[in-house]
């Protein structure tokens, strides 16, 4: 909340991002390095994200539970790739109740190990499968370079962990949850994402296959926005998760895990935000409509406020806020709610009261073009319609931006340029060597091999060898 203008995105994208978050009171820096405080406005957005996802998890047969924050160090070491991937990032409790612990406890960076341990206890027979559990919670990864929401030491997320009797079921689950993420991102957040597979190099530590949804931010960088992993039998073998099959023989389970975090708040901000600040998708916005009463005299106030109340009541199906602060001007309020990205603003002044209309302004269309006058009697219907229009318009705009910044370079020289201004969607032979050299040259990584492929084959953009899949190369957060 401040009169100062934000830095523009073209001037300093990173500073625009930080300032937009701080001034909109979405989050603040915590007194512990790399940690954040999610303030009420930011948390309300996250709660709406949680509801949108949780509903979809339950509709696909999942249940929630809670596993411990602390994991014995020895658990981490049971899956080789897992410990290699995570050990540089661990926070470790060595003292409890004033005494040095015999075995240090890791603050969970993710919960495959401790959940694997419990599954090995709970799963006896094929009748116990599949087991489909999700957990909402906090995790800690000791990151060195942190950014609000995008990368913080502690973050909030959900992690689903499932166990299945067959490889096919585990793969189907992995893709089912990738699809849940895709639909949520597109339908609720208006964030166009590309679902695809991660390369060997980019996959989760301990997974057989990792899938991701990738989104393009307003500076054309990619953001990995949710991941779904087929863990094969890697964790089942490490934690002895076995079941008796119908022939009464012991078999290892096939497990999956999938996660979606507060990082996505950053995705929403960087996908839709503009130089005035946040632009929140109506389905997730904590406040969908802000009403600003306009008056100068007490006489006007006493005419305006009853209409404001009446309209608030009529708009009860929506998330509405009346900004009745008296210490700031309407102009200040307009800027403030623009900064916070509220989709619709309604102004009601004495003339509106007389004429039985209100002025409504769309956050996604700045200035007069986004402002219309609506009869008070038609307001609820109009608001519903406009929110729905904003929702689809945000999606269309973001998708057009992504498409406009996705290139099909004809050779490696063109790719080098392409990844400076967006994504390159190119044939790739699949070798880690080509991937690594490209990264060294351009700082662009393979974001994903989209599920939606053109088919046929082509030549690897790096080495020219035959390639059967196209991959997205891009610089990423």
């Amino acid at each position: 909340m401040s009169d100062e203008k934000l830095p523009s995105r073209s001037e300093n994208y990173s500073e625009w991002y930080n300032q937009a978050i701080l001034r909109a009171e979405m989050a603040d820096y915590a007194p512990v390095r790399g940690c954040m405080v999610v303030r009420p406005y930011g948390w309300a957005l996250w709660e709406n994200i949680q509801q949108g996802l949780d509903r979809r998890f339950k509709a696909t047969g999942h249940v929630n539970a809670a596993f411990p924050l602390f994991i014995p160090m020895s658990f981490m070491e049971k899956e080789k790739e897992h410990v290699e991937g995570f050990s540089p990032e661990l926070a470790v409790v060595t003292i409890g109740g004033g005494e040095v612990l015999e075995e240090p406890l890791v603050v969970r960076p993710t919960s495959e190990t401790i959940i694997g341990h419990m599954y090995s206890k709970w799963i006896k027979s094929y009748r116990d499968l599949p087991i489909l559990i999700n957990q909402w919670g906090n995790v800690v990864r000791w990151e060195l370079r942190t950014r609000l929401f995008l990368r913080t030491l502690e973050f909030y997320w959900q992690e689903g962990h499932t166990a299945h009797a067959t490889e096919e079921e585990a793969e189907a689950e992995t893709l089912r949850m990738l699809n849940v993420y895709t639909r949520f991102a597109i339908e609720d957040a208006a964030v166009p994402v590309v679902p695809g597979r991660k390369s060997e190099k980019e996959k989760f530590a301990g997974a057989s296959k990792s899938y991701t949804i990738e989104a393009m931010m307003g500076d054309t960088r990619a953001l990995q926005s949710g991941t779904s992993h087929n863990l094969g039998q890697n964790f089942a073998r490490a934690f002895d998760i076995r079941y008796l099959d119908q022939q009464n023989e012991l078999q290892y389970c096939w497990t999956t895990s999938w996660g979606f975090s507060t990082r996505f708040v950053g995705a929403i901000i960087m996908t839709h935000g503009d130089d005035q600040g946040l632009v929140l998708p109506p389905k997730l916005a904590p406040i969908q409509v802000v009403i600003v009463p306009i008056y100068r005299s007490d006489a006007d106030k006493s005419r305006v406020m009853p209409v404001v109340e009446q309209i608030r009541n009529e708009l009860d199906p929506f998330r509405v806020k009346v900004d009745d602060r008296t210490e700031v001007t309407p102009g200040f309020k307009f800027n403030d709610w623009e900064l916070r990205g509220v989709p619709l603003r309604i102004e009601i002044g004495p003339r509106d009261v007389e004429q039985g209309t209100v002025a409504i302004s769309r956050r996604d269309i700045p200035g007069k073009a986004g402002r219309t006058f609506v009869p008070q009697t038609q307001l609820a219907g109009q608001v519903a319609e406009m929110l729905s229009e904003i929702q689809s318009s945000l999606y269309d705009r973001a998708k057009k931006f992504r498409d406009d910044h996705t290139f099909d370079p004809k050779d490696y020289e063109e790719l080098k340029e392409a990844v400076q201004k967006g994504w390159a969607f190119s044939w790739w032979c699949g070798s880690s060597e080509c991937e690594a050299k490209n990264k060294d040259d351009t700082k662009a990584t393979t974001r994903c091999i989209p599920l939606d492929q053109p088919g046929g084959s082509g030549q690897c953009i790096y080495c020219g060898a035959r390639a059967t899949e196209k991959v997205i190369f891009g610089r990423a957060y």
Copy 2:
């Protein structure tokens, strides 16, 4: 899930409690000492508790946020009583990202300190007050003797933290939230609780005044089930939480905090449970109605199952589960759902299909007395009515039990006996010495000074001095 009978409550209350939880799959022991895994059935109950409270928090003007898990050790030391109270219970992170930390980080046991630090940053003027924030999360206290739900190293809770301009407002907030807890416990959980004030000795480390709701468990012990603290200016002074008042002078704020945890799951189990297992209050039960289809032949099955489906649809407003397992008998299922405390069980067999009726059994009234036959056409209405009857009957039963085990001893000798079989509600002069001696003799502590007092005065049950308040003495969890 098992055929074995539970230990009876009279035989071994503690073992009855543990076994009921484990077999009902509410929770399990974690591989870290003193930690628990809350399994899906237990977590679903907690989610319903969360919703019941969160709705009430929002209705009283509170918003949710999230503050960091880690607290710098130096923060803990700023409030003298607070650090004295909590330092024996801390889990401490000393290593992050492979390096020894310069300042160790405490895993939050409660968040007054870190939230106080943020409030001092956010609060500038009287216009910023009151600030009414709640957080749902996990905390860690290094307890030595742990019990599932009642006392675990890590537990789940909400902690509200508010800041006010005046002492009166802070006290009003403290009592408002105590009342929210009281109403939730009574209305949603059917747990009769006594709201009251804690003695000086029993109050929260750092509070000026602590309030509690106390419940009597099935073994007549007391369980502190939720607390609300008026922190005075203690934390405001320690963390420099100040505001400019309307005269433009700097003033310290007055703060409160209040918490309600997964411990209350234990309260529900021990208030309503019987020798068959859990008895869950309908408003919070994860499953309100279980339908058990009864058939022996495929022909019967094909007649029964369509009716089961039809009834499941009609009961859509309720939380319904159809138990269509084929590997266990109906008798096993009856025991299993009794153990899990599902309020209503519906059986549907071929004869019910013919006669257009179903058998409904109430969990709270065992055997034939609780079993009625209801025409299928009237089912939804009957279910609603029966759930509501069970809800109030559970409350009445628990309240009667508490009243029957609350005594008014005429002297200290009688008190000693009284606290072996329940609570003593007695005059107390308020001295910590009488309180301590009583505790040494009887193991009973002052549970609370109920808000609802008879008035007048009497003689302290211990020392005979004049007393103006009555207190509840009881052995507690």
